[in-house]
Symmetry: C2
Subunit: 514 residues, 2 copies
């Protein structure tokens, strides 16, 4: 069957009937969420264990089960490998991994796929695991990629049943209250896992810093936590940031950031109460900084900003240009430090900021947001998951929720990356539909979605270089050699879910390149 | 049938099969909690309404439904009366009220019971409504009294289905994030209602202080809130405190408080990491102060204290004698002020501190706790609900959870109130079973539960007046005339639930007095 974007979607995969995407807000959830398991403990019981193996035994983790993780340690995470290795040693196989995201550090999982320890993955597969699966590495079922809010929704809706949630915590107390803000190796919010902790049959907090009771903030609560495992090391704090934290020095990219900030200004939303999403790519960091400068120049006070939070956003808060930062994800230590000290830097879980099945997300209150893309197409559809060579290399993050929510969503991209064109006729994979994208900002100009004709006059009046997307594409195409095109097989290796649980696209195996 | 305390319990009431109490930790919950309703909103929808009537229409509230409330405004609350009055005006009747607690300010509800607008009440009935029901005022079904944690549990377990939750908020934003800490008339934590907000078919936040988005802390979350009603006044801040905030000046009661603090000290728990529950009765306030003095003298730092929080507990925090206050209920403005400024004064919802159906409560981590009683008996059973005249006049609060959790639970009571004896052969109503009471402290001495023989030696060594309960009873009885005894009818007017959902006792109608 075809979804409303014309993408071909299988009717069923692994016995599961798929719902095709029909529009950004086409689904109206009704009925009830899934029911959470009852839990119990009497007084004076000890939850503390001293190895992953003990936790695997205590939770009754067996072959065929689903284990979940968060990605707050990003490319510094040790826990996924620790758990999967321990399962392998203990003869447990056929696992479904349900991480928020896997990173290059999790490359050892590939061997566990080959040996049948891991047979299914639902979660982002950044880098090598995505490439492995794209190129023929066999999972028993296609992967499922979900946005931050979409994953929260899926657990609540009962789409995914978690047997054991393993939650890396920078700090935890012996009763299972846990957070990512304090401790020896702080990683920022870990409340991605708050929904796992509530829905999993068993919840295991794993920490390298066991603090006296009570450890707070209560990102993970004692009432949800079955066991607390104390280990020596839980992650490499130097790799948490994933190298995303330098403002770009590329003149082209700085130009894009400047144009993006100018577009926000021209749209008229930089007034008291202004709200925006920062983001952590090189262009986004620069745009965040420039928007802060526009706020200062306009002498306004914004209402709130959301991240990935970095020191650039914290600076804007500290200058008094912003009332509140809502933090669902911290990308540097300055952001974490600010969470400890600034009362108006507030923890927010993905349910709060992004859950489609709720009475409202923080992203719906955003005036403006900057987002990236690997590709954009002439229908304004955006791809952040695959590259033009067809390989699945990135997750969705909060892209869908921010784009769907913000009144002004700007995609900031160069028209060329190396010799690869970024503007294409039709994106390899649709992550986010054109209907929720307002503006695409490149170094060659600003393209306005025809749905937002209202912006055109403002941008032109402000002297901004408003251009047609097709025109910029033609210009860029002249400077590039035709990219090597993937030859896809029939086999679907991953589903890309829209945040409401429908399938917006699929990723097929790459059999070779033209 | 009889429960394990020998109290006669009906097998069924209003079609509901009752489970008899069998012990403080006899129930092991299994299976799943109730499922929460799905909720949805698109961007750019407005939740703000301007009257209770509009909210009643918008939520579809009809005759026969259940409406819920919290009691953070205590005897200053306006909301219950506003909603019930509006329902009466709109021809809605047969309502079940599901408040955490009703207070004397809610006396107008009596007229609504008489006229059939209100036919059932599940919640504490402090004062006039309890007396009215005790003396023959007709509800269609017996009331059900639950502890803070028991009420949370009941909602999660599906024992009570809420149609519309009305949540008084000292501050809310237009999207439904709400708290009791800020605003024009702060009342302290409102997170009693967090579970209502998640389980109710419709959730209505009512505030007299609509703040710009985002209002925080997120005690009530936007994702749970259907409507935000803005009204001129929501409660009388001068009546929030309920007059519980003066340290007693009675020499007898000060003596009890001093003995209680000395007993805590003698038990050996005032060492680094000490934790205790404060409480807000006149004796408890004094005992809290004295325990603080013992902590200072011992030069220790306690781990945490829970409340009802008052300035006496905040003083101990500010002196550095305590690492953390966990606040589920604030009894004075000093406590609320501290929550705004002290990062180690942490909000805690009743699920966190008291829910039986969870992997652990904060009360289970308490070393010592001071609690009151209307009566105690020779089996150490405690009554806080009825008076010796049989009338239902008080709620349970957190009594059951604190007593069940603390390693050392002290009941602090005078042996006489006026000419009424407090120590009786058998309490009129069992609220909390003797098995979880360790010590009863009166002005005549300290009685130790036979289960806690280990304490005896320590107390005697410390020179404390250890005595038999029966002995103190005999002494006191000599000074009193026999109290007027109630003549009970057969009709059960209220069930007293133990925190696990079993019935620990029933309250029968008072037909007269001997």
């Amino acid at each position: 069957m075809k979804n409303s974007l014309g993408r071909e979607i299988p009717e069923k995969i692994a016995g599961r009937v798929l719902r095709p995407f029909e529009g950004a807000f086409a689904t109206t959830p009704t009925g009830r969420k899934a029911a959470r398991p009852q839990k119990f403990i009497g007084p004076n019981e000890n939850k503390v264990l001293h190895s992953i193996e003990e936790a695997i035994e205590a939770t009754g983790l067996k072959s065929g089960m689903t284990v979940s993780f968060h990605h707050a340690f990003r490319n510094g995470d040790y826990l996924v490998n620790m758990v999967v290795d321990a399962c392998a040693r203990m003869g447990i196989n056929d696992l479904r991994l349900f991480p928020t995201a896997l990173f290059p550090v999790h490359e050892p999982v590939i061997d566990h796929i080959k040996s049948g320890v891991v047979t299914r993955i639902e979660g982002s597969m950044n880098g090598p695991i995505g490439a492995f699966v794209s190129q023929g590495g066999k999972l028993a079922q296609p992967g499922i990629l979900r946005s931050h809010g979409g994953r929260w929704r899926a657990v609540e809706a009962g789409d995914v049943h978690i047997d054991v949630a393993f939650i890396a915590a920078a700090q935890a107390d012996p009763y299972g209250n846990a957070n990512g803000i304090y401790g020896k190796t702080p990683c920022g919010p870990i409340s991605y896992s708050a929904i796992d902790a509530q829905y999993a049959e068993k919840t295991v907090v794993v920490t390298n810093d066991l603090a006296p009771y009570p450890a707070y903030p209560f990102e993970i609560q004692q009432g949800w936590t079955d066991y607390v495992v104390v280990v020596d090391e839980i992650g490499d704090p130097n790799s948490i940031a994933s190298g995303t934290l330098q403002i770009t020095r590329s003149p082209t990219r700085l130009k894009i950031a400047r144009l993006a900030a100018a577009a926000v200004k021209a749209s008229g939303c930089i007034v008291d109460g202004f709200s925006f999403q920062g983001g952590a790519g090189g262009i986004s960091l620069a745009a965040t900084k420039y928007v802060g400068e526009e706020m200062a120049r306009a002498e306004i006070v914004g209402s709130f900003a959301i991240g990935g939070v970095t020191k650039y956003l914290v600076d804007i808060l500290h200058k008094g240009l912003l009332r509140v930062i809502l933090n669902g994800q911290a990308f540097d230590l300055a952001a974490i430090e600010s969470m400890r000290h600034d009362q108006n830097h507030v923890l927010m879980d993905p349910g709060h900021y992004a859950n489609y099945d709720s009475r409202g997300c923080s992203t719906y209150m955003l005036d403006a947001a900057f987002l990236g893309a690997t590709e954009v197409d002439l229908d304004f559809n955006v791809n952040v998951n695959t590259h033009s060579d067809g390989q699945l290399l990135h997750g969705i993050g909060g892209h869908q929720e921010v784009a769907a929510g913000a009144k002004l969503t700007l995609i900031t991209v160069p028209t060329l990356r190396g010799r690869l064109p970024v503007i294409v006729d039709s994106v390899t994979t649709v992550t986010t539909p054109g209907e929720v994208i307002d503006v695409i900002v490149t170094e060659r100009g600003i393209a306005i979605n025809p749905r937002r004709e209202d912006l055109k006059e403002r941008f032109v009046a402000a002297g901004l270089p408003v251009r047609e997307l097709a025109e910029m594409k033609t210009e860029a195409d002249r400077l590039t050699r035709p990219p090597r095109k993937p030859v896809f097989g029939d086999e679907v290796i991953a589903l890309i879910e829209w945040r409401d649980g429908t399938v917006i696209d699929v990723v097929r195996r790459v059999e070779g390149w033209q």
